[in-house]
């Protein structure tokens, strides 16, 4: 994992205009996030689409969670299998604080409850991180796996703090608010999430520019040399881990505010795997990578899961393909084009890309057909569903659809191989040209 993107640029002075010019993608994303619910606003009933608002809220939570995960994975080179622990524990703490507020013993305004979640995440990350960060690399990954399983089992077992299998329910309408809002409507919670997500993104972005952030990168790339500089890599890991727990705790608090219940699912393995999936698919080398991954995975989760039983298969295959062919993630794939873009030769790649598109579509189509046939044969049959494609019912027990799927995959695969080779030649020709042009300049 080489350092790309997070390299600190000297912070230029330049006033507001300069700030807008440098940070326009973030500002645009923020403005977009603020506007999005209104695209689905139903003017006749005066209501927002519940589905869209809940999906957007989930995206906001996931962005914070994935970015906090990348503080470990991308920025410090620490592979954690138990990051959900801090999301979940932050969530549990928030639920208890909300219940205390409701009971009148702790009048904290609802807007500030994520602070409780953050503190919860921080405290648990300090305690558990003290053990986990004694080690690095695979041993660290194993300890976090152990911690994850330990906390999950504990959450199922103990009633007082975790509420056992039923979890802890709460009610976000505590009646305490800085702005006198009730927070009954999901849209109000959504804007609260946007505000806290924006704060967290800024916080984590600034953290990458502190000495701690830089040392985390150094320890990731070569921890022995970092030691020679005079820093203790263990302390660097410890602080990075603790702060990452803090931000995961914020995500957990936002989760609690959205769903008003925290169960052991929030600390369990699948949730940790989700963070890994989002971060890796988005790209670990770029600060914004996990944001892209979070948006993509939640979209997949909400939309594809409506259409198909097997969306997790697609997510898994996507993950494997990324690990095998694009270890720098989607943002890494985009960044590879940077020199060609700067050399003004992007246009030469449009043709080769279009030629790739057809075989890729064929293979994807064949694969999706095969997976769907398979799942309709077993899981779908158990649920009594039938496979219908725009009014045509496909019988997964007949041979024809299977043959079509197989032919699409094999034919498309062979074509793709051929197209890939041609694309490779075109790509190296263009990058060669760009390099030569740069040398001449």
């Amino acid at each position: 994992m080489s350092a790309v993107g997070t390299a600190a640029r000297p912070i230029e002075a330049g006033g507001a205009a300069g700030f807008v010019r440098r940070q326009w993608p973030w500002l645009a994303a923020l403005a977009f996030a603020l506007m999005l619910p209104w695209f689905s606003y139903d003017w006749s009933t005066g209501r927002h689409s519940g589905f869209i608002v809940s999906m957007l809220s989930q995206i906001g939570i996931s962005i914070v969670f994935a970015l906090s995960y990348n503080m470990l994975m991308g920025q410090a080179g620490l592979l954690s299998f138990g990051h959900a622990v801090f999301l979940g524990l932050g969530g549990y703490v928030t639920a208890h604080v909300l219940n205390a507020t409701k009971a009148g013993s702790f009048p904290l305004p609802l807007e500030l409850t994520p602070i409780a979640g953050a503190l919860g995440g921080l405290v648990f990350a300090l305690v558990l991180g003290y053990f986990a960060t004694q080690q690095r690399a695979t041993a660290f990954a194993m300890i976090t796996l152990g911690i994850g399983e330990l906390v999950t089992s504990a959450a199922i077992m103990f009633q007082t703090f975790f509420g056992g299998e039923g979890g802890v329910s709460t009610n976000r309408m505590t009646g305490h608010s800085l702005f006198g809002l009730g927070y009954g409507a999901p849209i109000q919670v959504y804007y609260l999430i946007v505000a806290w997500a924006a704060l967290s993104v800024v916080g984590m972005l600034l953290l990458t520019r502190t000495p701690l952030g830089r040392m985390a990168n150094a320890c990731r790339d070569n921890h022995e040399r970092a030691q020679f500089v005079g820093y203790d890599p263990r302390m660097v890991r410890f602080f990075q881990f603790a702060l990452s727990g803090l931000f995961a705790g914020i995500a957990g608090a936002l989760y609690t505010l959205t769903y008003e219940i925290v169960t052991y699912d929030t600390v369990a393995g699948p949730m940790s795997a989700n963070a890994l999936l989002m971060t890796y698919i988005g790209g670990v080398g770029v600060f914004a990578g996990p944001v892209v991954g979070a948006v993509l995975i939640v979209l997949l989760q909400s939309w594809v899961s409506l259409l198909s039983n097997s969306w997790l298969v697609y997510a898994g295959v996507l993950f494997i393909l990324m690990v095998t062919f694009a270890p720098m993630g989607l943002t890494g794939l985009v960044l590879v084009h940077q020199p060609i873009w700067r050399g003004g030769r992007m246009r030469r790649l449009i043709g080769p890309y279009l030629q790739l598109l057809v075989p890729v579509l064929l293979v994807v189509l064949g694969f999706v057909l095969a997976v769907e046939l398979c799942s309709f044969l077993t899981i779908g049959a158990a649920q009594g569903k039938s496979f219908t494609l725009s009014k045509i019912t496909i019988d997964p027990r007949s041979a024809r659809p299977w043959l079509i799927a197989g032919a699409l995959m094999v034919g498309g695969g062979l074509w793709l191989r051929f197209a890939m080779r041609r694309f490779g030649t075109a790509w190296s020709a263009v990058s060669e040209e760009v390099k030569r042009a740069e040398l001449r300049a």
Binding site: M1, G77, L79, F131, Q134, Q135, A137, T138, A139, A141, M142, I143, L145, G146, I147, E149, L150, S153, A154, M157, F158, Q159, T160, G269, A273, L276, Y280, S310, L312, V313, G316, V317, F319, I320, V323, T324, P327, V371, C374, S375, L377, T378, I379, A382
Partner: protein, 315 residues
């Protein structure tokens, strides 16, 4: 006494099953530096293959066919995927196996359904072997013990008495040096990966009907096998063997010993009531905490002895 002896036998059966899984994993981990998350998936596939095969040609044929299928699959995975991912570094390799485990689980769900399949013990072995203090010792458990001991002896002979075994042993501790001496290390990797998959598949065949054959069996077994491998230490089969037995015994005894911290404190004259701080933790009976013990052991061993029980290298 009765409980102690019966549990000892059960613990041995479970520990040997764990060893069958862990031995392959520890070889793969030590040689390739990859913690193979898909190893327990091979165990699951072994059970499912055995279920399907045994419905057609019977259990005894499945005992041979299913592990071979797993081995072939393992070899294909190593040659066509893992070797390619290897270039992207260790983390990418590890994540590849994570993704693979995930897809295998979903694939099994799609191929065999979400519910457990009725994979049963063959009728010949479905009886009591002998009675001990009034409780039966099931013949199938004896059969499992026999298979795992045979496998243990086979591995031991293979590793110490054959040429390829010596190369594998050398590659455990000095992989670069073995390559420098002109051995085809990638082929050794493939053999070890396939061999590990065969063992995992075999464990699935004999464990699948003893436990339950369901899509989540890999996820329940996987972490425990990791704990065994890390606990035993990298590069040491003996450590792995000891760790398997310890883990098997600990988990079995944890189920039958109905004690809690409160009982222990009571011996020293301290009484735990519901008003005592952490009363819930202190009064939790051991059988309920049983599932936690492997992870506690893992964390403890990594903190006290990061190389594991008998490890020769850092993880």
């Amino acid at each position: 006494m009765e409980v102690v002896l019966v549990s000892l036998l059960n613990g041995l059966v479970y520990g040997m099953l764990l060893f069958m899984l862990a031995s392959g994993l520890t070889l793969i981990f030590s040689m390739m530096g990859v913690l193979n998350f898909a190893h327990a998936s091979m165990y699951m596939l072994g059970a499912y293959f055995a279920y399907s095969v045994s419905r057609v040609i019977g259990f005894w044929a499945a005992l041979v066919v299913a592990p071979i299928l797993c081995g072939v699959l393992g070899a294909v995975i190593e040659m066509y995927a893992l070797r390619r991912v290897h270039r992207n570094g260790h983390i990418a390799e590890l994540l590849f196996t994570v993704g693979l485990a995930f897809i295998i689980e979903k694939g099994v769900q799609m191929a065999w359904g979400l519910l457990p399949v009725p994979y049963r013990v063959p009728p010949v072995l479905d009886r009591a072997l002998f009675h001990i203090y009034g409780s039966n010792f099931h013949a199938y458990r004896g059969f499992m013990l026999l298979i795992s001991i045979l496998m243990f002896v086979a591995i031991w002979l293979l590793l110490t008495r054959t040429r390829i075994g010596l190369v594998i042993q050398a590659a455990l501790t000095h992989p670069e040096m073995v390559g420098a001496l002109g051995h085809n290390v990638p082929r050794v990797f493939t053999i070890v990966f396939a061999g590990g998959s065969v063992l995992a598949g075999l464990a699935g065949v004999i464990g699948g009907n003893y436990l339950v054959t369901e899509p989540s069996m890999a996820a329940t077994m996987g972490p425990i096998v990791f704990v065994v491998v890390v606990f035993g230490g990298l590069g040491s089969l003996t450590g792995c063997f000891l760790a398997s037995l310890i883990m098997g015994l600990v988990q079995t005894y944890a189920v039958v010993l109905d004690v809690s911290f409160a009982d222990l404190l009571a011996r020293f004259g301290l009484k735990v009531t519901s008003a005592t701080p952490l009363a819930e933790v202190l009064t939790m009976p051991l059988p309920r905490v049983g599932a936690l013990l492997p992870y506690l052991m893992l964390i403890l061993v990594l903190l006290i002895k990061p190389r594991g029980l008998m490890g020769t290298r850092d993880t």
